[in-house]
């Protein structure tokens, strides 16, 4: 595409790109605007003109006839479940990826095949029995019930296996001659070299876990372990909806992950190059 670009192209292209950007992020802007709008403008004006914190107040403190729902707790729950689940997925993936890329053992091929098989296997069939397993293990309505069934990511194993393959064996051999243990090599030498891929894997796993609804909805029953998604989905019953607070809750659900992503966007750009190959 080099060579035929004329000068007048640029402003047009940037305008187009900016308009696209605006369309892509408009739903977020809409959410924020209407979460702050006065109640008789929510969903009635395109662009609200008067603003208030009433929606947030209603959400967090309740109203005369409305007990506040545990939004703060749900936020912390979501945080905790997402982080634990993500870290476990990373740990299992790093271990398995290292074994599959650097060790020679009988059965390795079989393990590789099992992973491939699972990757292409439609997981929909597992929904009901997984629920029953969680119940049998006594994990229904607990954090572990939400975390453990999501503690392995086949994609992450795949990513790490491929990345570790690229790391030269000489490096590992050299460390071994210095008397380093395998764990030491993995966590002190190999992993720090994989920072960009780790960021990518972390971000993607975090994002995926953060927006999960179906599984959490099946496992959570009490107030204690509610996650943000489940609470938000439950807020709309037959007894009348509150659009303002709904937007406010959506903001609470969305903002943290956007901040996390934007803060890490530089690593993201580096890592994504590898991830996409």
């Amino acid at each position: 595409m080099v060579g035929n670009r004329k000068r007048w192209h640029n402003p047009v292209l940037y305008t187009l790109a900016s308009i696209t950007l605006l369309i892509m992020i408009y739903p977020y802007l809409h959410m924020v605007m209407h979460s702050l709008a006065v109640w008789d403008q929510v969903d009635r004006n395109f662009f609200p003109t008067k603003f208030t914190l009433r929606s947030y107040q209603w959400l967090l403190l309740g109203a005369e006839d409305v007990q506040p729902r545990p939004w703060l707790r749900a936020f912390l729950n979501s945080m905790f479940v997402t982080i634990s689940s993500t870290l476990l997925m990373m740990l299992t993936a790093v271990l398995a990826g290292y074994a599959l890329s650097k060790f020679v053992f009988k059965g390795k091929k079989a393990v590789n095949n099992v992973i491939l098989f699972q990757m292409f296997f439609p997981s929909i069939i597992l929904l009901i029995p997984s629920f029953l397993i969680v119940k049998q293990l006594g994990l229904y309505d607990t954090y572990w019930g939400m975390i453990l069934p999501k503690s392995v990511s086949l994609w992450a194993i795949f990513m790490y296996t491929n990345f570790f393959k690229v790391i030269p064996n000489d490096l590992i051999e050299a460390a071994k001659l210095d008397g380093a243990s395998e764990f030491h090599i993995l966590f002190r030498i190999v992993l720090p070299m994989s920072r960009s891929i780790t960021t990518i894997v972390f971000l993607f796993l975090f994002m995926e876990r953060w927006v999960e609804l179906l599984w959490d909805m099946l496992i959570v029953k009490g107030q204690q372990h509610l996650t943000l998604n489940v609470l938000l989905a439950q807020m709309f019953g037959p007894y009348g909806a509150y659009p303002g607070p709904m937007y406010a809750a959506s903001v609470i659900l969305t903002v943290p992950i956007i901040l996390l992503f934007l803060a890490c966007s530089k690593y993201f750009k580096e890592g994504i190059q590898f991830a996409l190959k």
Binding site: E64, L76, N77, S84, I219, G222, Q234, P256, A263
Partner: protein, 440 residues
């Protein structure tokens, strides 16, 4: 680069901190009996906020007098309905001790799966019934196996609300009473305001079972003068009134008086002039639409009836719910639950408080005679029509297969008739055929 690390550090700390916090506050409810003999019971309140408020207050007061029993009140999960939420909890083996918001049909289904405690086998049952003056009410709640599984809490005849302010602009001083009146009003409304509708209700095209309570059954109960739609395992629906009900719905649709698009508060915003209403709506209105005033902006009326029928004592659907104790709860919890229920219903003041907070009429024999209820109602004219309609209330279908049955009513009859895909008589017969198949 540093930003990312910092934010991640914050996120991780927050996660761990929350883990710590959660860890501390958790697990208090899992064990049944604490070493000091305290029993904690879980009470699931209906998703309706005022009901949560009521039970929370009751639990707090009860705690003052009974330090050995702790009542944990929380709203029941709706995923996607409160019934489904309870079923999933039962399937997960972690049902609460008590929950309210149980209809008779649902109780029948649950008792078939041995999920409920027969309340009459627990001590104090007789005393509760006597204290709360519900000997008459309770007799109709006996189940096929001669046990009582539900303690009815309220029984609320559903009504319709009309935007009287808009009706007045059309020359009406009172709401229409028959199908013909409604159609005539609709024509006048369309002439003046082509963009407005008589009824805005997307539920009419939704087959979800419980939606039928608030459209089909209200109209059918009125049209059939309280005929029981299904009795035991037999379909006893009345053909003539059924077809008339469906024809009315179809006429509304055909004349463009029905809006089935998804809309936000259409009645409150004046997009439509008619809506189904229960007393729980008033507290929401107070907060969101304080400008809506009884007798100025809206009035209440029973369902319209087919032309030529008497418009006195019109029957309507009665939303009747009660509380149950789950068999999964440990015996000492069941006992403590009974203790709590007995305490709540030992004093009429508690039922008065119920009425004040939730606006729902308590299921008591003396609801319309007891002075304390009377005086409250006289101060709240918008509740009087509900109280007056209690004798005209027809309880819901109490078959254990209520979910499938009522889904069929939607799928075969109401939904296709409203959208004009099928004509009332054919739809009615198709529905009957499927219902009879399901009831076998």
């Amino acid at each position: 680069m540093y930003k990312c690390k910092k934010v991640m550090a914050v996120v991780l700390t927050a996660g761990l901190a929350s883990a710590f916090l959660m860890g501390c506050s958790q697990e208090t409810t899992k064990t049944t009996t604490q070493p000091d003999g305290t029993v904690t019971i879980d009470f699931w309140a209906a998703p309706n906020p005022p009901q949560q408020k009521y039970w929370q207050q009751m639990a707090d007061e009860f705690a003052k007098e009974n330090p050995k029993v702790k009542v944990n009140v929380s709203p029941m999960p709706e995923s996607p309905s409160s019934e489904a939420g309870i079923q999933a909890a039962l399937a997960g083996g972690s049902a609460p001790t008590i929950s309210e918001n149980i209809s008779r049909g649902f109780a029948a289904q649950l008792s078939d799966s041995k999920a409920l405690v027969p309340l009459d086998t627990l001590s104090d049952w007789g005393e509760i019934i006597k204290n709360r003056q519900m000997n008459n009410t309770i007799s109709s709640w006996k189940f096929a196996d001669n046990h009582q599984y539900v303690l009815p809490i309220y029984s609320n005849a559903m009504l319709f609300a009309w935007r009287i302010d808009m009706l007045k602009q059309l020359g009406y001083n009172e709401p229409p009473k028959t199908y013909g009146d409604v159609m005539a009003l609709g024509k006048k409304l369309k002439d003046k305001y082509p963009d407005k509708y008589v009824w805005a209700n997307p539920d009419l095209t939704d087959p979800t079972w419980w939606k039928r309570w608030f459209d089909f059954f209200m109209l059918y109960d009125a049209a059939s003068n309280g005929n029981k739609f299904i009795e035991g395992n037999k379909l006893t629906a009345d053909d003539t009134s059924g077809v008339k009900t469906l024809t009315f719905l179809q006429d509304l649709g055909k004349n463009n008086l029905l809006l089935t698009n998804q809309s936000t508060d259409p009645f409150e915003k004046g997009t439509s002039v008619w809506t189904t209403i229960g007393p729980w709506t008033f507290s929401t209105w107070k907060e969101k639409y304080p400008e809506l005033k009884f007798n100025e902006s809206y009035v209440l009326s029973p369902p319209p009836v087919p032309d030529g029928m008497s418009t006195e004592n019109v029957k309507t659907f009665s939303d009747t719910k009660g509380l149950v104790i789950y068999a999964q709860a440990a015996p000492e919890k069941q006992k403590a639950a009974m203790q709590f229920i007995k305490w709540v219903y030992s004093k009429p003041e508690h039922d008065q408080k119920w009425l004040e907070i939730t606006n729902l009429p308590p299921a008591r024999d003396d609801m319309n005679t007891n002075d304390s209820f009377k005086s409250y109602l006289s101060q709240h004219p918008e509740l009087q029509p509900f109280a007056a309609s209690i004798p005209n209330g027809v309880p819901p279908v109490d078959n254990a297969k209520f979910n499938d049955l009522q889904t069929t009513i939607g799928k075969q009859a109401v939904n296709p008739v409203v959208t004009g895909k099928s004509d009332p008589a054919a739809a009615w017969n198709a529905m009957k055929k499927e219902l009879q198949g399901a009831l076998k």
